[in-house]
């Protein structure tokens, strides 16, 4: 049998007001927390993206350095390397004076190879023969260019300048005066060893800023990644 409604079973106005106020407070709290979480998510997402892109860039640079100098001059008969320099990959290019006048890195090499600019030579097996692969920081954009094939006696800096494409954005090394590329050399006798052909290891430092400021703090966030890549091919 259905129970008949009683007079006191409904909500009073005071009860509804209290419930509404309580609901508003709770909902406000919940949504403010949600908003905070959302902002944090956006901020973290930006950083994660920057991290991923920097990671990929370091991996690619390391791969290129591993193969730098392939094929070496020893792959050819005596005299062939001198007569056909386009067939041979020197590990690292330089300018000015390439290829007959070796320079000293940081002294007479100019910007290449340098703190923010690196050109290496290799044959990646794509059928284009020896190529120049260049990394160059221009402002806050790390550019990458593959120029194929390498041209005998041409200046590598001029030859690669037109083929550079944006590779990694928001690279802050220059503003912080921290080099992207630093080098370790084979010991040579006689010294000095600091010639491009003696570079054995390339240490890579990438300081990358998030694309957008952190929504919570309004500040850009930066991540720092380091890598190290050794050249496997012989000195030439």
């Amino acid at each position: 049998m259905m129970k008949s409604p009683k007079r006191g079973d409904g909500y009073s106005l005071v009860e509804l007001l209290v419930a509404t106020v309580l609901f508003t407070i709770i909902a406000g709290t919940v949504f403010s927390l949600l908003l905070g979480a959302q902002l944090r998510y956006r901020g973290e997402s930006d950083v994660t993206t920057a991290f991923q892109q920097a990671n990929v860039a370091i991996d690619q640079i390391a791969r290129d350095v591993h193969s730098a100098g392939y094929p070496p001059a020893t792959s050819f008969a005596a005299g062939v390397a001198q007569a056909n320099p386009q067939l041979v990959a020197l590990p690292f290019s330089w300018s000015p004076g390439y290829p007959n006048a070796p320079c000293t890195v940081g002294v007479s090499c100019g910007a290449v190879p340098g703190d923010y600019d690196l050109i290496l030579e290799t044959d990646t097996g794509d059928g284009n023969g020896v190529q120049w692969i260049r990394y160059s920081l221009q402002g806050t954009t790390l550019m990458r260019g593959v120029t194929a094939p390498k041209v005998a006696f041409a200046d590598p800096v001029g030859s690669t300048a037109g083929g550079l494409l944006p590779y990694l954005e928001n690279v802050m090394n220059q503003s912080k005066s921290l080099p992207i590329f630093s080098y370790r050399y084979d010991i040579t006798n006689p010294p000095p060893a600091q010639q491009p052909s003696n570079i054995r290891e390339v240490n890579i430092l990438l300081i990358v800023q998030s694309a957008q400021p952190d929504p919570q703090t309004g500040q850009f966030r930066t991540i720092t990644l380091t890598g190290q890549a050794a050249r496997f091919n012989p000195n030439q």
């Binding site: 609901f23 919940v30 094929p71 050819f76 062939v80 496997f232």
Partner: protein
Amino acid sequence: MKKTKCQSNSERGVALVIAIFSLMLISVVATALILTAGTQSAIKSNYKSAMHAFYDAKAGLEEARGRLWTSNPDAITSCVFPGGLPMPVGNVCYIVNPSDGENVDPTDLNPANPYADFEYQQEWGPATAYAVQRPFITSKSRLPTIAGPLYKWVRITPRTNLSAKFGTDNTALFFDGKNTNSAGTGAQVLTITSLAVTPYGSRRMVQYTVAAGSSAAAIPAFPSALTLDGNAVSFTGPSGSGDDGHGSSANFRINGNDMDAPPGTSSGVGAIGFTNNSDSSNVSVAAVPASNYLSPSGVTAVGAVSVPTILQTPSSLDALVQSITQSADKVVDGPVTQSDSNNIMPPGMSATTPMAVVVKGDLTINGWNNTGYGLLLVTGQLKYDPDASWNGIILVIGRGVFISNQMGTGQINGVLLIAQTRDPSSGKLLSTLGPASFKQTGGGRGIHYSSKWIAAAQGATPYQVLSFREIAQTNP
């Protein structure tokens, strides 16, 4: 105060609303956390997988390089050199490394085969004859309880003009210690290619070019069975005659004719070569009777020769000594005597397993009625009793003195090089090569040039890496 039934009923809905909102809040926060963590985890995973593949592929290269070395207990000589050195162009030797229950066949060029070897035709040309040695060699990297690196296959092939992009012909290439050539001078250059594929799908392909060790690469370039490398070198051969039954000077020969030349053909090098023209008078005069010093037609038996750059200076020869010492099967400090009762040779040395032995100091071979195989390097004086024979390469680099005054019927089959790079009294490295000395006044059968034993000794030193590259894959 006791609650009335009415009050209790009116609060039930509020509790539900609060519970639902709380649950929503927790769910949203948890979802955001999971998404963020998942993205980070995926990035790390991809990176780890790519790195894994790279080092797995490199492990494949190293396994193949190690197993090319004939001293390796798991050497793959029969696969790579089925008819002896060199490896024929077009021959392909694969080492495969399948996971449990998996079939890895790089020669199946069906696009659906994830391990198909399309790179071979890319480098050697689509029309290249393709003689694959079967069955495939199985990798030794996996153990019953250890998975091992995840490379799928490693291919060993002779490097050619075409694969080196230096011509359109598949002529085999060789390395003479400094340069690569297609004239057959030095050790054959091989290409090792390795593919690794991880369970996450990362693919990396890497490639070595290798050649037998620097010593092995340099030795075949020598133009004589006995090479006196230096300045003011001296040579003394036996002057007696007759045979007392124990071997005598009558049987002594230095013969540059290749004892392994195909029947009916003539090839080889000079008998004695010296590197300084001004030593012509003392060496040529001492090498009598001339009939004891033989060479193929058209090749000067005793004369001045040129040697590769690596053998021209004390420092480069010293570097060669260091290189051989680092990879030798056995290194012994001298002075030491090798005899039947005091055998310093490494166990397992045989005709099929030649080895590299280094004696740092003087070595006296006395009363050893046996044969050594491989590469013998002596940095002090080598005193040789011709009761013993040696098949392979003997290098006397350092003090540069070879002396023999006993009788015997032993013979050196291969080559002998003598060079003085260090001051005999102070041991300091010389600025120019000194007076290397060969003196054999007893018996013995001398030296007979042998391309076969030289090649065998080449295998006694590990293969050196000449170059490396990574070959881009569509899914790195």
